[in-house]
Amino acid sequence: MKPFTYERAKSIGDAVAAVAAKPGAKFISGGTNLLDLMKLEVETPSHLVDISRLPLNRIEDMPDGGVRIGAQVSNSVLAGDPRIRRKYPVLSQALLAGASGQLRNKASTGGNLLQRTRCYYFYDRTMPCNKREPGSGCSALEGFNRIHAVLGTSDACIAAHPSDMAVAMTALDARIEIVGPSGTTRVIPISELHRLPGKTPQIDNSLANGEMIVAVVLPPPPAGKQVYRKVRDRASYAFALVSVAAIVDSAAGRIRDARIAMGGIAPKPWRLNETEQMLQAALASDRTFSQAADAAMTNARGFGQNDFKMPLAIRTLRVTLGMLSNQT
């Protein structure tokens, strides 16, 4: 691990100012991803600003019926919160499908959103990786790419986003509250937090230097049934090959509304806007679900070892939609 200096932030203002002031400074909260990468010297911050004790660990009810989740709420506390379990079960399920009990106790809400890809080559400093070292090339394109993305990729990077939590939050239309170095707050939809690799895969998200996520705001729970379905190599403690967060409102054999996001298949949580439109007011039948699932993968492209993700995503989506509308 490269040497660094450390400070514990006393306030949000202190924290953002400290990171903005020092080149190479980073926030640290749970540290479960950052320290892992620092041990491998994939991440080499010169200064760490500890934000884990900031008063951002509350889950508050909002006047509109939504909730505001402080960025320092741990993944396990969020998954176990009675309000989240009752109103947003898809979020509890997604959190509980990720990592281990120990990691969920440490990992924060903000850190989970900003965790980095688990692409083998991103972790392997002996191999080219455009995300780790811009311009060095992408080893995954023609290498081991079984876990990689099939949508939203570029010639520079095909890494998949690893979060389960962010997929559920994407289906729930979460908004991200961000404080900048000048102390001003801005709010963006979660769809604008993560970015596609394009020619600059080293930039994971739209945060500027010194900006810090302080909260995630969920709008009131949408009508309908919610579920998070995750397909992985082991029954527990493994990243998603394919996952689906879906909320489907149906009545009298028709779908009124559907909100769907997928994980494991793209560089960011992948919202299926067009598929959702196809499902609007459609008959809740296996034929409908098959067509919608096929449509979701129209633009998908495999790289050899991950070709299986396309049929797997289609089948997972179809069965999940059927389950939610009682039309299996």
Partner: protein, 217 residues
């Protein structure tokens, strides 16, 4: 103060990938990692200013002077001399380093010691009351919940933390998140303990020990 022996090295995924397929990454076992620890020479020493930090371990304060890179695990083992918590993978994958911080289980290898000033840290050494073993410790002996024993301190600390999560009503992946109470089936125990790997594969007896202990704690 004893200087840290080796704070900056550890098994790396890079090392694991050399000479094998990338798939090894997902299957990195403690056994693989140990081989890499001994095979790698310490990295060149670089200056890093030390920091004073007081850790409260098993209700006793320890004033330390640490390189900020020191993990909680290394602080416990190399600086305080409490070697009950084990270093397996050093990357949060095996669970051998599990300790309780403010009553909650965490991987001590993936946390910086300087971040834990003011926390109540409990290691496997702090679970017994004098000569009287903690019910989870006793159950591991009764049910022979180990073979080589290397993962056992982590298994036991993790089980103690897990049972307190169950008492708090926390749901798991295999249960219904909307249910108020947890029924601690074997499937629940396995799921909730999936962060602790046992390469001797003593899992049936580990599950039996935890099932038994769950009725006593």
């Amino acid at each position: 103060m004893t200087p840290p022996k080796d704070q900056s090295t550890g098994p790396t995924r890079r090392a694991l990938l050399e000479g094998s397929t990338a798939m090894t990454l997902l299957l990195a076992s403690p056994a693989t990692s140990f081989a890499q620890v001994s095979a790698r020479a310490p990295a060149a020493a670089e200056a890093a200013p030390r920091m004073p930090v007081t850790l409260t371990v098993n209700r006793q304060d320890h004033a330390l002077d640490l390189d900020p890179r020191t993990t909680l695990l290394d602080a416990l083992r190399e600086h305080i001399g409490m070697t009950g918590s084990k270093k397996g993978c050093d990357h949060g994958q095996c669970g051998a380093c599990t300790v309780l911080v403010n009553g909650r289980r965490i991987n001590s290898c993936l946390s910086l010691a300087v971040m834990h000033e003011g926390d109540e840290i409990t290691t496997v050494e702090g679970l017994a009351q004098g000569d009287s073993l903690h019910p989870v410790q006793a159950a591991f002996i009764t049910h022979d919940g180990f073979q080589c024993g290397y993962c056992t301190p982590g298994q036991i600390c993790s089980a103690v933390g897990m049972l307190s999560e169950v008492r708090a009503g926390w749901p798991s992946h295999v249960g219904d998140v909307t249910a108020d109470r947890v029924s601690l089936t074997d499937a629940e125990i396995s799921e909730r303990m999936s962060g602790n790997i046992c390469r001797c594969s003593a899992y049936p007896n580990i599950v039996a020990a935890i099932r038994d202990a769950s009725e006593r704690v």
